[in-house]
């Protein structure tokens, strides 16, 4: 086996196969595993995917939401065990790969049109 195949086989053990197809502009719920003392629970984090970075095991999504009037962006390594699940709540219709323009907008202007052709 060559070097690339060996590295792929190591990564394959960590890469999740049950993730949904995520697109930029989607509204998602990310289940984040949180440890409190000895107890572990899953906290949902809802928001809009404003950026994706492909990179095999290093694939990330940036999820933005407005929390108590403050914009919050979290970057998730989607193959990490910290991410318990990802649910698509709504598909969005956007014409950009990165939705950084949403950072300069507030209120109604941050809405993204829904698209129905993706499941």
């Amino acid at each position: 086996m060559n070097a690339e195949a060996i590295i792929r086989s190591i990564e394959a053990k960590h890469i999740k196969s049950d993730l949904p197809q995520i697109y930029v502009g989607d509204s998602v719920e990310v289940g984040v595993r949180i440890k409190e003392g000895t107890k572990e629970r899953i906290q949902p984090y809802r928001g809009t995917v404003i950026a994706m970075r492909n990179g095999g095991i290093n694939e990330t999504i940036t999820v933005r939401r407005i929390f108590q009037g403050v914009g919050v962006e979290r970057v998730f390594l989607i193959h990490s065990p910290i991410v318990a699940h990802i649910k698509i709540e709504r598909r969005g219709k956007v014409r950009r790969a990165k939705l950084y323009y949403l950072r300069d907008r507030v209120g109604k202007a941050t809405r993204i049109k829904q698209r129905f052709d993706r499941s």
């Binding site: 086996m1 070097a3 095991i57 990490s80």
Partner: protein
């Protein structure tokens, strides 16, 4: 000191820690299989060590003296030979194969190899000098500045940092942690970076902890 093995750097990736879910940057190393080609003892050589060989090659790639040396241990033609000083040579025998199973996951290792060659490098790359300003009429962009005083002493002191060959030297990175061992494929995952590019030859030995006896 104890016996280590030779290996090849394959590349880097990341794995996730099962409990905390943290991403660990790892280097993937093809470690072995290595054959013991010679055992040096106090009686025959004046000191004790174990010599191992790594990387099988075609017979025509080696010279007759090299092949003759390997014949003594009935080893296949091997490109690289390296000696590890050790006191307990009795545990090893000629022709024995060493692999990644030599290390346990969680163990600390020292890894040495040649760093990437950077050729004739300037002050910024080689010694982390600051750069001059690029604009406002300045013509000093990557110049060294002063190299010392004037008439007294009338010379540049030895050891003055200057441009020159950088990289391509042997470096040992100490106390790196083994994350995972695949003894079947002889693959080691080491936390952090190691010298050289993928394909570089590395020596992996158990960590030499100063002061520990």
């Amino acid at each position: 000191m104890s016996v280590g093995i030779l290996g090849t750097k394959l590349g880097m990736t990341q794995v996730f820690e099962p409990e905390t879910g943290k991403a660990i940057p790892v280097t993937v190393i093809q470690a072995g299989p290595c054959t013991i080609t010679q055992i040096k003892t106090k009686e025959t050589d004046g000191y004790t060590s174990v010599q191992i060989g790594y990387q099988e090659v075609k017979e025509k790639a080696l010279s007759k003296p090299e092949l003759g040396h390997l014949k003594k241990s009935s080893a296949n033609p091997l490109r690289h030979l390296k000696e590890y000083r050790t006191d307990n040579v009795g545990e090893y025998e000629l022709g024995q194969t060493l692999g990644a199973a030599l290390f346990d996951s969680g163990a600390l290792v020292d890894i040495s190899g040649d760093t990437m060659g950077r050729g004739f490098a300037g002050y910024q790359k080689r010694h982390n000098f600051k750069r001059g300003q690029m604009a406002h009429g300045s013509k000093n962009h990557r110049l060294p500045g002063s190299t010392g005083a004037g008439t007294t002493p009338g010379r540049v002191y030895p050891g003055k940092k200057m441009a020159g060959r950088y990289g391509g030297t042997k470096v040992t990175i100490r106390k790196l942690q083994v994350v995972q061992v695949d003894s079947e494929q002889n693959v080691l995952l080491i936390k952090g970076a190691v010298p050289g590019k993928p394909g570089a030859l590395l020596s992996i030995a158990p960590a030499n902890i100063v002061g520990a006896k």
